[in-house]
Structures are given as C-alpha cells and as structure tokens.
Symmetry: C2
Subunit: 195 residues, 2 copies
Amino acid sequence: MQEGLKRTQEERRTETIRALLAAARKCFADKGYVGTGTPEIVAAAGLTRGALYHHFADKAALFAAVVEEEHALLAMAINAASESEDEPGPVKALIEGGDAFLTAMQDAGRRQILLIDAPAVLGREALDAINARYGLRTLIEGVSEAINAKSIRDLPVLPLAHLLNTMFDRAALANAEELPGYRKSIKALIRGLKI
Amino acid sequence: MQEGLKRTQEERRTETIRALLAAARKCFADKGYVGTGTPEIVAAAGLTRGALYHHFADKAALFAAVVEEEHALLAMAINAASESEDEPGPVKALIEGGDAFLTAMQDAGRRQILLIDAPAVLGREALDAINARYGLRTLIEGVSEAINAKSIRDLPVLPLAHLLNTMFDRAALANAEELPGYRKSIKALIRGLKI
DNA sequence: ATAAATTACAAACTGTGTGTATCTAGTTTT
DNA sequence: AAAACTAGATACACACAGTTTGTAATTTAT
C-alpha cells in the first residue's frame, strides 16, 4: 500500500497548478514570455501540455496568473520592509515606500515579468487592474493621505499616483550604478510637491 | 516601350523597403506586433516574404525600422509645434515640449508601436538607444539647460531626464478624459524642481 | 557588346509552437 | 456498484518564423 497516492481532486488540482505556476515563473523570469514555450514549461513541471490547457485558457492566462502571484509576493516584501516603521509623515512614507519597492525589485526575473513582458502581453488595462489590487493601491492611498493632510499640493490623485508608479517602475529598470541617481531624482520630485 | 519599368537597383530597393515599412507600420499599429504575421504584412505591401527577409534580418528588425521611422515622425511633429515659439525659460520649455509630445501622441497606432510593443520587442537597451537619438535627446538637453541656468535643482541629468520621459510616456497612454489631470500633475512635478 | 557576377525577389521547405480534440485513468456522487 | 464528472495524457491541425533554393533583373568586367 503506497501512501499519498489517493489524492482528492482538490489536492491534485492545486498541486498541479502550483507546479505549473512555479515552472512558468522560472521560465518566464529566465527567458521572457516569447522566449519560453509551453512544452518547456510543462517539462519543467513534470507534466504535459494537456494539464496546462486543462487549468488555463491559454499561455497568456498562465502568464497572467504568474504576474498576479508575483505582485502578491512583491507586496509582501514591501510590507515586510516597512513594517517596523514608526509612523512617518505622508511624504516620507511615500519616499520610503518607493525605496522599499526599488529594493524588492532588485531581481532580474521579477523585472522581466512585471516590467518588461506584462505590459505588452496583458495590455495596460488588464495590468492596471491587477496592479490596482497591489502596489498601486497603497500608492494611491499614500498620495491621497498626503493630499488630505495638506502635505503636498492638491492634485488629481489617480494621475499623480500613476505617474509616481511609472517613475518607480522606470527606476527599477536602471542598472545598479544608475540607481542612486534615480532615487535622488525621485526624492526631489516628490519633495517638490510639498506645500 | 513601357515607361518606368527599367528601374535601377537602388530604386527597386528603396521602393520595396518603403512599401514594406508602410505596410508594416499599418499592421503593427492596428493589431500589435504579435497580432500581425509576416504573411499579412507582405500581402499588404504586394510582395512576398522573400523580399522581407532579403532586406531585414527578421521580423524584429523590420519592427525596429518602423520604430525608428515613427520616432523621426514624432520628433518632426514636436519640432513643428514648438517652432514659432519665442524663447521661453528652460522650465517652461520643458513643460511646453511635454505638451507637444502629448499632443503628437494622440494616435492609437503610434502609442501601440512606441509605448506598448517597442519596450518588449526591442528591449529597454535597444529602445533607449533609438530614443536617445530623438525625443530623449532633446529632453536631456532641456534638463541640462535648466540645471545649468540654475532654474531647477541640481540633480543627475540622465536619471531625471529618463524619469520625465517615462512620465510623459505614461501620460500619453491615459485616455482622453484623464489626460488633463496628467498634464496638471506633470506640470506640478516639474515646477516643484524649481529653485 | 557580351559574359560573369551580383542583387532583388519569389516559391518551396522545415521546424517549432500554439491551441484543440480525443481518449484514458482516477475521483466523486447517487 | 454504476453513472457522472474531473484530471491529465496523447494525438492532431494549423499558423508562422526563418532558411534554402531558384529565377529574373541589373550592374560590372572583359
């Protein structure tokens, strides 16, 4: 009698999906979306393409799931970094949150997935929808707080938040030696909003 | 005796390339890079794939040529808009240049090519290299002037220019009703750099 | 001027990858 | 225990990218 062979459907399902996501994450991170084929992914997961297309509509849907997962991990990393902070002012919170983001983004695979491929594969709309549930959400809250506290000028919240978000994304793509210059410039741009 | 049949090689060559670029520009603009196949492009150009692969290394090289051309057109449009201006201050020049950019970017196809597909297809490096010869170049000059004139704070030129560039790109992707909010926010961010 | 060489392009071929349809094994429900 | 359903493997069809081969036109060399 072998143990663990009689798995419930839910167990099979979740375990298979988990294996697919893990394999896909690694492939997409290493070789990009177009550079990785579904045969490669399922081989790395020890499955066949049948399993993939049973659980995901298509390759893009699998990628979207990876993006979602990666966003969640990113958000966790950022939250963990800014956990033990004692309440700073809203402007300082924005800057420190951005720094935490840049630190969490020092991973080539993460950059490839979230910043290079995701916009083109999922499209702005879909990506913003995902983003709005993670990093962008806290950024919007932060901007909103800063404006309500009259710490920065009164500007349209969503556009400003999107612009800051975009700047952080761009800074995350800078190579290591350029990064300090980007941090400094972003800091100056945010501080310039102070009333 | 039929006229115009005896074309020189240079004429054939340039005319064929022109036809390919025009057809490719339209296809890429309408259906995106992955959404358009090379058979579709050459059919629209009244040629065959043989011609395409004779003049371009691969599909990505054709796309790169389209991007280059589009950047040149964009730069022309912006220059034309800011032609009759009497010398404004460096900060105002930055803001007005950005406005001209946003206006010139009100073309869905242009946005698809330059902002959606180009980063993923060509990669940041290659795209920046092209960009550096067009819009980004003038932006760097503008930032540099503003700093030298002590109109804005002393910050690393390239990172700041890239950040501004990225903000304008993001604003260009906003839909029409959001655009004013983006313009206003960008204006405030730039003005905040003033000394 | 004519032959050789080069260039422009077409047509056919090959490989690879996506998505689908079919089929089997295992699980849950009745 | 049988029927219904789910998970997943195998096989298939199609499309597209890139290459190879072939042909017509132009340029260069003799």
